[in-house]
Each structure stands twice: as C-alpha cells, then as structure tokens.
C-alpha cells in the first residue's frame, strides 16, 4: 500500500507490503524491513532494518509532526488519487488554504452553494491587510470548516470547492 507525504514542498512516497512479522518497505529504490511496531498518540516505536527507533509524534488534521534528534518534521498526508468521498476532495486545486496566519473576517458562502471561478468565498484579515479567498474553479462548496472570527494558521484549510455536482450515488 502506498503512502505519500509532503514536506517543505517536496513529496515522499513509501510502499509497504505486509509480512508475517511486520512490513517490507520500498523507498527511493531500496528495500527495508520493519517490525515490532508500537503506536500511541504520542510515540511511535519500530525496528527498522534491525535498529530500534522511538520517535515522538503529534497529529493535527492531515499533518503528522515527527521529532528526530531535535528536528521536527511536519509531514502532510496526501490523499490517494482515486477515492470515493464528498465531491471535491480529489481536486487539490479546490482546497483553499490560508496564505498566512490571520483571522476570518467574513464568510460569503455556505456549504453546497454553487460558485463560479473568481467568486470571493471568504475574507481573511492578516498583517493589517484584507485578503480575498477566491475560487480558482467553478464548482460547489464542499466543506467550510471555518467561521467568522476564527483565528487560522498558515496553510489551514479555509474552504474546499468540489467539482460540479453530478447526479450519482456516492458509494
């Protein structure tokens, strides 16, 4: 099974195949063996190619923070490309994120509204400026996880615009 993460603009893909005692791992053209996996909300422990590793982790939305030797890596999980789910998730273009930390000043749309390319969906106030979050594509507002007054961080998802609603049953 493939797992994809991004960090600092780069993409990293790992492929894990189960074995009787753990997993075989393929990464950047090499094979590794992983066993002894233990997971808690704060720690992950495993044996990688015979070496025991324990790392501190913290999850927040689609990002896993991992600490190693005084470094911290925010690893953003990438959704798999072919999936069933609410319209819009398969389209990364429709995921509108905050360009910098700020506060939601006003929200111009509601979930399930039809929107047209260029429409202002939300206004963010940041660094004493007003930032208009506009949709880059026609579609439907699939998710609206924030509301007026919310403090948001850089890259936080503000609105998700999905593909045009199609008449089909979601699986």
């Amino acid at each position: 099974m493939k797992h994809t993460f991004t960090h600092n603009g780069q993409t990293y893909e790992l492929e894990l195949t189960p074995t009787p005692d753990g997993f075989r791992l393929a990464y950047q053209g090499r094979e590794h063996h992983v066993t002894g996996i233990e997971v808690t909300p704060e720690r992950v422990r495993f044996r990688l190619d015979g070496v025991n590793r324990t790392l501190a982790v913290a999850r927040r939305r689609d990002t896993v923070w991992v600490a190693i030797r005084g470094r911290a890596y925010p690893l953003k999980k990438q959704a798999r490309s072919r999936r069933r789910g609410p319209a819009g998730e398969a389209n990364p273009e429709g995921v509108l994120r905050a360009p910098m930390p700020g506060q939601v000043r006003s929200v111009q749309v509601s979930e399930n509204d039809r929107v047209q390319k260029g429409d202002t969906l939300l206004i963010l106030e940041a660094m004493k400026m007003e930032i208009r979050i506009q949709t880059p594509c026609d579609g439907t507002v699939a998710q609206l996880p924030v509301q007026t007054g919310d403090q948001v961080d850089k890259d936080q998802v503000l609105v998700v615009v999905g593909e045009e609603d199609r008449d089909r049953e979601e699986g």
Binding site: F5, G36, V57, R71, A79
Partner: protein
Amino acid sequence: MPPFTKILIANRAEIAVRIIHACREMGIQTVAVYSEADADALHVEMADEAVPIGRAPAGESYLRGDKIIAAARQTGAQAVHPGYGFLAENADFAQAVADAGLTFIGPPPDAIRALGDKAAARSLMEAAGVPVVPGYQGTDADEVLAEKAAEIGYPVLVKAAAGGGGKGMRMARNAQELPEALESARREARHAFGDPRLILEKYLAEARHIEFQILADQHGNLTHLNERECSIQRRHQKIIEETPSPLMTPELRGEMGAAAVAAARAVGYTNAGTVEFIVDPATRAFYFLEMNTRLQVEHPITEQVTGVDLVQAQIRLAAGEPLALPVRLEPRGHAIECRVYAEDPGSGFLPATGPVLQFSPPQGPGIRVDSGIRSGDRITTHYDPMIAKIIVHAADRAAAIRRMQAALRETVLLGLTTNLEFLQAVLAHPVFQAGEATTRFIEQHLSEWQPAPPPLGALLAAVFSVQYSGDSVQCSGAAERYTPWRALANFRLGRGR
C-alpha cells in the same frame, strides 16, 4: 522577613514564571495579570492570585498600565515587577507606579527617560567619559547632518533618537544615499515613536555585541557582573548569547566593566540594568551603544557563571537593601543560551503560529530551561513568539557547546515551525565554534539555510501514526485496508526479535 509581602508581575510567559519562582523562594506572594489569550497559561496557574486585564492584544492588556496598577491596588500588592518588554522601559508607567504608592522594581523614572532617548544618552555618556560610537546627536538640519556624516565617515547609520528595536534605522553607504536615508528614517521615526529627531552613528562593518550586567543599590553602590556576548542575531534580535565572551581578556573586561559602571553612575542608576557596547574585533576598541534599564532576556547565563539570582537581587535592591556582593566576581565556567522561537528560518524568519502539540524540554546536568509554554498552549501573533530559553552551563566553552548541542537534539517541539534545527546549524558552524561570529554572522554564513529533508524513520513514524490511530485522516474518506487495527489506541505488531 521578606522585603515585600506581595508582588504583582506585569508580564507574561517565561519571564513571569521566572519572577514567580524568585518570589516563591523568598516567601513573597505573587499576583499575575493575564489577557484573555493567556487564561490557561502557566504563569497564571503558578501565581497565588491572578487578575484578568483585558483582551488578547497587548494594547488592551499588558500595555495598560492603568489596569495593572488597579490590579495591584485590588490585590494589595506592594511592588510591581515589569519583567522585560511591555512597560518595563516606560518611564511614565514607572512614575505612575510610584505615584500610586507602590514600588517599581527597576530604576528611577528619570534614569529610564534619560536612557530611552538615544541623543540624550549619547551626550550623557560623552560627558561621563564613556567612549561612544563616533556619531552626532545635535541639530537636525539636513545640511548639518550631511557635514557631520562626512566627518564621521561612511557608511553611516541614521537612527531615530526616540527609537529602539531596530525601527527608524537606515544605512547610508555614501553621501548620495544620505538624503533618502534621512527622509525615510525621519518618516518611520515620526510614525513609530511620534518623534522625528535623528542621530548619526558610524556603521561598524564587523562588530561584536558585548554587554555588561549592572547592579546598583539605592545607596550609591554599583557593580558589574561581567559581560555577555550577544552577536548571534537575526532581525536585530539576539538568538544565542554566551558568557564569558570569547573575545574578552582580563584587561578588556576591566576597562569595559569600568566604563559600564561609569555609564550607570552618570544617570544615577539603581537596580538591574545592562550597558550594551559595540566592539571592533580587530582592534578591541569598544563603544557605548545603549543602556537597557531593565532585566534582559539573556540574564540566566550571568546567573549560571556567577551564582547570583538576578531577579532576587532586583527585589532586594528595590526594597532598599544594600548591594551585598564581592567587589569582583570571577565567572565560573561557560554558559550559553539559545532562544527557541516559533518562526521559519527557511523563510526569512517569518513568525509561525499554531498549537504546541508536544513540548518536551531537555534535561540533565548543567541544563536549565526557562519557559512559560506547555503542550496544548497556542502561539499567536499577539505576542513575541518565543517558546523557551535553553541554557547550559559547563566547565569551558567547548564543553558548553557540546552540552547545548546534546540538549537541542533531545528537545521535542511539535505542532509549529521553530528555529530549533537552525540553532543547531549555528552551533555546528566553524565560525561560531572558533568564537569569531560578529553581528553579521547569520547574514554572512547562514542566509541560504534550509531544513534537512525528512529521514526515512520520520516518514515511517508518520505512516504508522496515521495508520494505527483511532481516527482516520480527515481528507481520506475511504475505508482503510487494515480496519481491524484502527480501533486500538495502543497497537503492537510482531514484537519478536
């Protein structure tokens, strides 16, 4: 008998925690003040009493001297410790505290006022025989300034007389650049400080920032507790400090220490303060830069090598106790402080915000961590994004650097971008290790720094964290293949060797 019964701390985060520690040891009751954003903060929890003083923006809370004094009255506090930043160097606030019949734990308002004005401070120091950066602080007419700039010699720094924190400062590399620099600095000075007056100073291309800690009682006794080297800076803000300075010799310490004491004496200084100098590493010529009329962020490194608790000293001096220190305090060993900030060194040190998901500070012999932040706290844009100060003390400089490197490697800080990795890059750099860093170190040697890519172990940990936690990742809606394992909070697989 403690010098005061109850002290109000007019500050927040790590310095408020620091002051509360000192008060506790002295048997003094503490009052914390807090904004809405800090309702669950450590300093609020630690204090004996806590008074809310307004909404998150500092201008509605920590900068409201009237509310702070009202809180002191309400709780019966006898003294106010301003910490650093906020109102610590606000002469009007110090005066208001005194007028309210309370003790301000710091110098007299007049000393704060005199040293807050760069032009006045330069004149005072010149009169006291303290060497100042070659410059000019007289009339403001552009023709006169141009003449004086030529006399001083380019490049020249144009600074706001009422300024600080790097604001209202411009550099002119030659006579052609001067008019624009003057106009621009004047505009920013008027806007930021309400005072367009300017001073000129020679720009020293390669300089070391070395400051001296001063303590003075109310009976005319002053002393210094040696120097701190603070040349590792970004955005005119220090991020690593150490003592002793690698550049120092006993002779230079004697000369600079005497100049620092003379500077403090010239303004009738009392309590704790720091005299900052610029030193030319080639000639070891030193010049007065400014004096900070408060406790410094980096005070812990002086505490480590002298054994003096500076906050407790401040409290005693404010109560009128005489200075009770030996004439000369030789530093013992070497101490380094690293300031951990929520910021992105790979993107121009832009401040970062977000929740601190996990903070696990380092521990061990010779390691001290001063912090007001805990796992679960949020870093916002309302305040300075400093998360913690990590301080180490060891027998010598090389041992201190090793100890700091080990401490940083052991630190866990998850949830937002910090400069932890960047600090390690500074410590590993040969120029820093040789003790030769000037104030342009980061600009010259680490301007292109980027964080390292994630190692395989980190990626794997992320895979398993997502795969085996109770909740699935929000953006993936489909059923996972390993459904039987999802329900377990603690998951084990294949424990055999």
